[in-house]
């Protein structure tokens, strides 16, 4: 899969709050569908559906040998997605840094009497 489409899949998978919660749970260690269904008060098929989305996005992997097929988190796509957001954040940080300077400049020129 080209990097761009896998990134799209990562973002799409992360957009859902249940899937984010599942990932947060998997950070603490692998878990089976039934182990995940219980704390989330969801049916096992519903959990399985979310796991499939996460697996397709490469965010988790599931072992094929064991019957309980525990899911475990995969770090790399998450790191990639957070890298894009971090670069984007830096872009705004730079623009807003300039806006800070402009605001300071404007306030110095036209001090607000209410501020005194």
């Amino acid at each position: 899969m080209p990097p761009s489409s896998s990134l799209d899949a990562t973002f799409a998978a992360l957009a859902d709050p249940t899937r984010r919660a599942i990932l947060a749970r998997l950070v603490t260690g692998e878990a089976s569908v039934s182990e995940l269904a219980e704390p989330f008060a969801m049916s096992q098929p519903a959990i399985s559906k979310h796991l499939k989305v996460l697996e397709r996005a490469g965010l988790i992997s599931r072992s094929h040998d064991a019957q309980r097929r525990p899911a475990r988190i995969e770090a790399k796509p998450l790191q990639e997605a957070s890298m894009w957001i971090e670069r984007y954040r830096e872009l705004w940080e730079a623009a807003y840094g300039r806006l800070d300077s402009l605001l300071a400049d404007l306030q110095a020129q036209r001090p607000d009497p209410k501020e005194d």
Partner: protein
């Protein structure tokens, strides 16, 4: 130290940017709605300027920004219409980009598509400090992701080389 900018993705078509400023809402509003102020900060990296900035701040009114590289002549732009204007707290406007694909830009009459991004800016002032929340809702997750990745291209701005110099220049 720059203040932190918080970036979140509330849904797969949205990006939200939150930042607090040491200034009243009215001043931040002015910096987003008066062309002579917008063109002083809403810039790309070093080497880019905003030679064209036109704003008709009314419901249904249009705005047009064009950025141009000072030496290599490359240009791109953004444009849209205001949908809600409640000074100095609430601004909703559409946004489309052009020039990034290398096709010629129509500066005065850019082609408006049927499905632009919709941006909502809210300013909340408490005790002289103002929190800016900018929510950007894109027409699809693919376009949203493209916008997120723009941080890596040199369109809007990535390499913040000599940023300190730019800030020093503005404040001088």
């Amino acid at each position: 130290m720059p203040k932190p900018v918080k970036v979140t993705t509330p849904s797969d078509c949205e990006v939200e940017v939150v930042r607090t400023f040491d200034a009243p809402a009215q001043l931040i509003w002015d910096c987003h709605t008066r062309p002579e102020l917008v063109s002083r900060w809403l810039l790309g990296p070093d080497g880019w300027g905003m030679p064209h900035c036109v704003i008709d701040l009314s419901v249904g009114g249009r705005y047009r920004y064009v950025w141009r590289h000072l030496t290599n002549g490359r240009a791109f732009g953004s444009y849209g219409r205001y949908r809600e204007v409640v000074a100095p707290h609430h601004l909703v406007f559409t946004e489309e980009m052009d020039g990034l694909d290398g096709r010629p830009m129509d500066i005065d009459n850019p082609v408006e598509g049927p499905n632009p991004s919709v941006n909502t800016m809210d300013l909340t002032e408490v005790g002289g400090r103002t929190t800016l929340r900018l929510n950007m809702r894109f027409p699809s997750s693919a376009i949203r992701d493209m916008a997120l990745k723009s941080g890596m291209t040199d369109g809007m701005g990535v390499s913040f080389d000599r940023l300190e110099a730019v800030i020093a220049d503005v404040t001088a």
